[in-house]
Amino acid sequence: MTTTTNKLANLSPKVLMGIKNLLVRARTVVEGAQVGEHVSPFRGGAIEFAQHRSYSPGDELRYIDWRLFARTDHYHVKQFEVTTNLRSFLLLDGSGSMDYAGQDGISKFDYASMLAGGLAYVLVQQADAISLTANDGPEITFLPPRTQTAYLQQILKTIDNCKPKGDHDILTLLKFTQDRVNHRSLIVLFSDFLVDLDELLPKIRILKSHGHDLIVFQLLHPDELDFPFTRFYRFESMEDQRFLVADSRSIRNLYLEALKEHQDRLKGAMRKIGIDFQQVRIDEAPDRVIARCLNGPMRAQKLRKMY
């Protein structure tokens, strides 16, 4: 942890977006997450103990088994067996609605990219296999799971090249994933989930029932959550031709009601299914979000249970 990264911690999404390179951005985010008070449970958590070996200079001190030292008066270093069966699938929703940026200019997709990048970074550092599934127009871009560090570059580049548009939403991604992922895996979803829950939830349940571990990030713009508009607008859908002409102020309460209803139902369903559900306001600092996710009670519990 250098001073530089310290400074980079807790940066607002706006500042982060100033960093052009997604890799740097992702690393900044992750480092920001790791300078936090919580310790990442991922550390070593995904790796099973293999054997001890004699310490040789250059080994990290934290891997020295102090209990063995006490017994044997020799330095031994714990060696872990790198698990190959932990695969992480990042599902990035590239539907039109993710392109909403409000006045700040940071779209939900940008934000999701940062989070996804950050997580990818963490996972690659831990030598986990990462995979990316994202909408790219009508096509679905799929990068199969790999563990190479260099693969991170490719993943991030692909994310960077995605442009959210159209009504190809998370449902297609879920369907796609459901068809392809057979092994028990970590599936991370980035979406706004502005979809019909009746269609969404069954798919989530199926994935869950396949034994996958799901982390769900729902990204919502403050505009969507607070509806701060005061004027008369012709609201147009970002995915299709639907529109609505209405006075913002008069419709605000009803809108918030409808949104709350949706959110309550979504959260309730996720909790019931047992999914780590993170609702994210995209004006939050992304490192906080990642930290919260990694250290959240559910994740900790899950991890303990799982590993």
């Binding site: 505009d223 969507e224 004027r231 609505l244 809108y255 409808a258």
Partner: protein, 663 residues
């Protein structure tokens, strides 16, 4: 307050209601101005909108109603509503006796803003009142011009049927007589609890003397037809010959507004002869302007000022007196080789010499031998100057035909022959008297019409340096000769007699400088011209008269007047009484021009507020207890409420529009 009693002073403004189509059209094709905004959570908005939709439509409808309301109120405001809550006689008293005082003087023909005349409005209002009464109820109508003329009509129905025959008159009358008659009626017939309704233009001049008290037994409702504000009248109060200048006229204006008036006075002589003058008349004051008329003076002049609320006094037709030229025949018996010794030389010069026609004279100068009957027949005035023998037959004939004869003395006159002629007219020449000292000439009888219209002091100036050296002594018979000019000792210098027809004037001295120096004095010119004018019966007192309509009616002259020109605004106007204009009238074989003008009291529209009798704004009649007929002008609060309503509606509509339409 009964809403059914709302009437409108400007009902045409209600046409503005057609503008109601605008908000309705806007509503029908309503597309709120809205900026597009791409928003991801459209689903929730649509869900919310389902509930919202009904309210939105209700608000739209409300907006339309507000806009309609604005237009309705504006139209209503411009139509100037008034509430006549007394048209039914003060609420339920339609059974009480009613006495109507109708001001039918010409000032009631003034118009309000929308052009309808007060008299028509008054008759309309009266008709409404009468219709609200049951047919048989005791009702009387007293026109101001002849209070007793319609007393035979006794019921509302009879009066109602007769209403369309009542006309305004040019007679200038006040309401005093009719009011007194109304009080008499109440006393005489015991009409206690009667209502007196007075319909008048509302000016102070409608009363000679304001009533001192309100009658105890009657209720008085005062209908003032004039608008309290915005009533403007500037009148051409008189057009007269300018004194001392036959070619000029004097136009006087009278302003009865509370503000000064600046207006353009135009004198139009036809054929492109147009004079204009910008004149300022102070509030409640007068101003006059002289117009010099170019030659030849047109037979009639149209004098006009811009039209105002009372248009009848804005245009006057006038016949300038100077327009009828006097044909003068000068018979000069003096054949002296020195022109300075010739009478005709001075006379010609006095008439303007070669330019005589410009001054209204046609001049023929002949010697006695050149005198012919045809010349005499053409002439209006014959000057016989120092002629040896009178041509008796010709001159007698001329006098009988109404021509004027001027006899100037001189050495050459044959006493016997002249005395024979003059004897017919009660004159006799005796001798030529040389005065010991040159004597001045006195104005003996300034009332003589030949002096009119030049002022006395001017005549005295004209005659100041005249010195008479010789006169011919004449004896006067019984006949009445006027002696306009005489010597200080009383012996006549100028004798004048109106022979009817024909006029005779004898100048007892010479008309050249043989016996006096008068021809060299500057008074000679006006003297000669005034003399010729009088002899030609062109003097104003007899041949040209200005009469007011009242004088015409009161002197019973209506039948004697033959209309020549009527003032333009009166053409086609349905009023009783003589219309102002130019008339001719035959008096003793002579044609007299009569200029009929409106009585000045009818031109003065000053209300009570602008006269000195009251404090500004007070109406002494209302203070007496006369109830004023309520109109919007008198109830500005109604207008203020309407205006506030429009304002509030506009604000609400603007707010709603802003809420929906702004960015």
């Amino acid at each position: 307050m009964n809403l059914l009693n709302v009437s409108f002073l400007a009902p045409l403004a209600l046409i503005g209601l057609a503008a109601l189509a605008v908000p309705i059209y806007l509503h029908m094709r309503h597309k709120p101005r809205a900026e597009s905004f791409r928003f991801p959570a459209i689903d929730f908005l649509l869900k919310a909108q389902k509930k919202k939709k009904r309210r939105f439509h209700a608000e739209q409808l409300m907006l339309m109603l507000f806009r309609i309301g604005i237009i309705c109120l504006l139209a209503f405001l411009f139509a100037r509503p008034y509430i006549d809550n007394r048209s039914t006689g003060g609420g339920g008293d339609t059974g009480r006796p009613l006495i109507v005082l109708l001001d039918d003087s010409i000032s009631m023909m003034a118009s309000d803003e929308d052009g309808s005349r007060f008299f028509e409005n008054a008759v309309d209002q009266l008709g409404e009142v009468l219709r609200a009464r049951s047919s048989g109820v005791m009702t009387r109508i007293l026109p101001a011009s002849a209070p007793k003329s319609l007393l035979r009509l006794e019921t509302a129905r009879q009066i109602r049927d007769y209403l369309d025959q009542i006309k305004a008159t040019t007679y200038a009358v006040t309401l005093d007589a009719a009011y007194a008659e109304a009080l008499n009626l109440i006393e005489a017939e015991g009409l206690e609890g009667a209502t007196i309704r007075i319909y008048t233009d509302g000016s102070r001049t409608a009363w000679r003397e304001l009533p001192a008290t309100k009658p105890e037994k009657a209720d008085v409702i005062y209908h003032s037809m004039r608008p309290e504000e915005d009533f403007e009248n500037v009148a051409i109060s008189s057009v007269t010959q300018a004194p001392g200048d036959a070619n000029s006229i004097e136009v006087a204006l009278m302003n009865s507004n509370p503000d000064p008036a600046e207006l353009s006075l135009a004198v139009n002589g036809g054929r492109g002869a147009l004079l204009r003058q910008q004149i300022r008349v102070v509030e409640g004051g007068r101003a006059s302007h002289y117009f010099g008329l170019g030659e030849p003076v047109p037979p009639t002049l149209d004098i006009s000022i811009p039209s105002d609320n009372f248009d009848l006094d804005n245009q006057v037709v006038y016949a300038p007196r100077a327009n009828r030229s006097v044909h003068v025949l000068v018979v000069d018996g003096d054949t002296h080789p020195d022109t300075m010794r010739n009478e005709s030389f001075f006379l010609r010069n006095a008439f303007g010499a070669d330019e005589a026609e410009r001054y209204g004279y046609k001049l023929d100068v002949v010697t006695p031998s050149g005198l012919t009957r045809s010349l005499v027949d053409q002439a209006d005035v014959i000057f016989m100057l120092n002629v040896e023998v009178p041509v008796d037959l010709l001159l007698d004939d001329a006098l009988k035909k109404g021509k004027g004869l001027f006899v100037g003395m001189g050495e050459r006159m044959d006493f016997e022959r002249w005395n024979k002629f003059l004897g017919n007219y009660d004159l006799e020449m005796w001798e030529t008297a040389r005065l010991p000292n040159p004597a001045p000439v006195d104005l003996k009888d300034f009332d003589h019409p030949m002096f009119y219209p030049i002022e006395e002091y001017e005549w005295r100036t004209y005659l100041r340096d005249v010195a008479i050296e010789q006169v011919r002594v004449l004896s006067l018979g019984r006949a009445g000769y006027d002696v306009p000019l005489a010597l200080p000792n009383g012996s006549p210098v100028l004798l004048a007699r109106d022979l009817r027809p024909g006029r005779l004037m004898v100048w007892t001295s010479s008309m050249d400088i043989d016996w006096n120096n008068f021809p060299l004095e500057f008074g000679f010119v006006p003297f000669v011209r005034q003399t010729a004018n009088w002899l030609a019966s062109r003097d104003s007192s007899n041949s040209y008269q200005t009469l007011t309509t009242n004088q015409v009616l009161e002197q019973g002259l209506v039948d004697q007047l033959n209309l020549k020109h009527v003032n333009a605004p009166f053409r086609g106007l349905d009023v009783a009484g003589p219309k102002p204009g130019i008339y001719t009238r035959q008096i003793r074989n002579r044609n007299q021009f009569v200029q009929v003008v409106m009585d000045e009291s009818e031109l003065d529209f000053r209300g009570f507020a602008t006269t000195d009798e009251t404090q500004a704004g007070d109406n002494p009649l209302e203070e007496l207890g006369f109830r004023s007929y309520l109109r919007s002008d008198l109830a500005p609060s109604v207008q203020i409420w309407l205006f506030l309503a429009v304002l509030v509606e506009t604000l609400i509509a603007a707010r709603v529009t802003d809420k929906w339409g702004s960015r």
